[in-house]
Amino acid sequence: MSKTLKYAYYPGCASQAITKEANSTTLKVAKALGIELYDMPKANCCGAGLVTDYDYDLSLALNSRIFAQAEEMGMDIMTICSTCLMVMSTANRDLQNDTELLKRTNEVLACADIRYNGTVKIKQLLWVLAEDYGLDNLKKKVVKPLKNLKIAPFYGCHSLRPSDALGFDDPERPWSLDAVITTLGAETVEYDGKTKCCGFQMDLITEDTAVEMTGKRLLDAKNEGGNCMVTPCPFCHINLDNYQGMAEKKLNLKIGMPVFHLAQLVGLAIGMTAEELELSRHLVSARDVLKESLIV
């Protein structure tokens, strides 16, 4: 790589609290890869779609406040949360496509002396690895190929849709996570749930439906021969890992599918230890799968 990659880093709320291992391992892995991530201490929550459910104008203004900070820093935003990615990208699409809307939003922001010029790009760690950093460069960093792992890539809705706002992967035949997995030396698994929903947004609303949805995705992956899963989204991780026990109870069978954050999987392949990658924070242990695959 000729130029050092620099991003305004937006981990999102979940990755700073309930799934904070996603954040800490991303920082470690980025450092090891030579990707520079810069804090955004002023950044507010994107609203996770819930603020959009309350007031669209408020959602636009809050997201623009985040974008304005990245503009000040002169960098694009990199997030490790697909929901943040989707919410920010749709807001950004609307603002960039509609100068009247951008003007109106800036009139709101003027109350706090903020201005967004519409120049920021929003990326997901996954895309940064697959494109900006590049698979060839990633391959050079692999010291412990993840042989014997059969990984089900769980993209999550908000890494794929709406594709006109995200503008990166193919929503029907996504490739980026598959490509990262094979670059790390593992095998990928094709399964029905690959582009489907984990159920997270319904956890606190209609838990039954959410849990059944989670179980179905995990089971599909298992039935197709997957021995673990990876997701670039902390919300998907909450459901696939934390709610897996509930899903097993509901479906009345054992699934036992360890689920990695994207950064953790990269970390394993570039030689980091399970402790460094905080794998013990997961409810479904990855120990057996990794032992069988001779990775730790």
Binding site: C13, A14, Q16, A17, I18, T19, P41, K42, A43, N44, C45, G47, A48, G49, L50, V51, T52, D53, Y54, D55, Y56, D57, L58, A61, L62, R65, M86, V108, L109, C111, A112, I114, C157, H158, R161, P162, S163, P171, E172, R173, K196, C197, G199, F200, Q201, M202, L204, I205, T206, T209, A210, E212, M213, K216, N242, G245, M246, R281, H282, L283
Partner: protein, 325 residues
Amino acid sequence: MKIKIKISRCDPMGKGWCEPFLQAYDIEAKEGMTILDALHLVKDVQDGTLAFRRSCRSAICGSCAVNINGFPKLACKTHLIAEYKKRKEIIIEPLSNHRVIKDLVVDFNTFWEKINKVEPWLNRKTAISGQRSAVSKQTVLKINNSSKCIMCGCCNGACNTLEIDKRFIAPAALAKAWRFVGDVREVDKKKRLEKLSEAHGMWDCVRCVNCTQYCPKDVAPLQAIERLRAEAINQGVIDNHGAKHVESMVDSVKRVGRLDEAAMTFKTLGFLRSIGMIPFGFRMEMHGKMPMPLIFPQIEKIEEVKKIYEEVKKRKKQAEVKVEK
């Protein structure tokens, strides 16, 4: 160019169920041909027993929605060669989430039942008389997308909640509901929103964005759902987990600039159901994942966020006054 297309075949013959299988047909694809043209070609020349719905051939009637290579699309709006070049195969199956009657024909009764549930008509103060009721362009634009729906069922076919919960009202009906809730002339908005807030209603959308992604007419059902939800909160229809979930998020961002997981769980579920979460919480805690009341500091310059909230609120009020005038 010769293309092999595979079509899902299934004929329950009154038995109610059969195992679908893929049948392959070789066809001579010509430039400009659509998937629907290909289906016609198969039926006319090779196999008269193939069943599929179609009518206008111009993406207006909404009859020919099928799964093409796994995703719902109008057969008449999808180019055969382009799709084949993109995917290296053509697999045509019936729309998901609907019972198959024969081959590609699915039972649309459940679709219409859902549409009927939202009472797809306008309730006005007075019966339509000779006088005109003028509606501004701006207010029409709010519901314009919903009016474009051709009832093809692509959104319901792709809906992830409907896949799990057959009773879910689903995106097509919700987009239609917004057509009327968002209409300035409608008088029963609140009643509609109360009904839509019941179980299996609008708060059960899991935001998978499939409806908006696969709508062939840019209806953007998810946006309609977001607007319905915002309108419900605006009208005070908030006695349900969905609305409480939104309110606790809006409140949390205003207070500390980010999501306060513990407060959100508590506010969404209420006291009793939160107690039910304690065993789960303990299991989470063993891995350091108990949602704790926010202990990390609020974001820097939170006062900017508060100002933005006030400003948006002020502008909304001004806009409402303007509409009333």
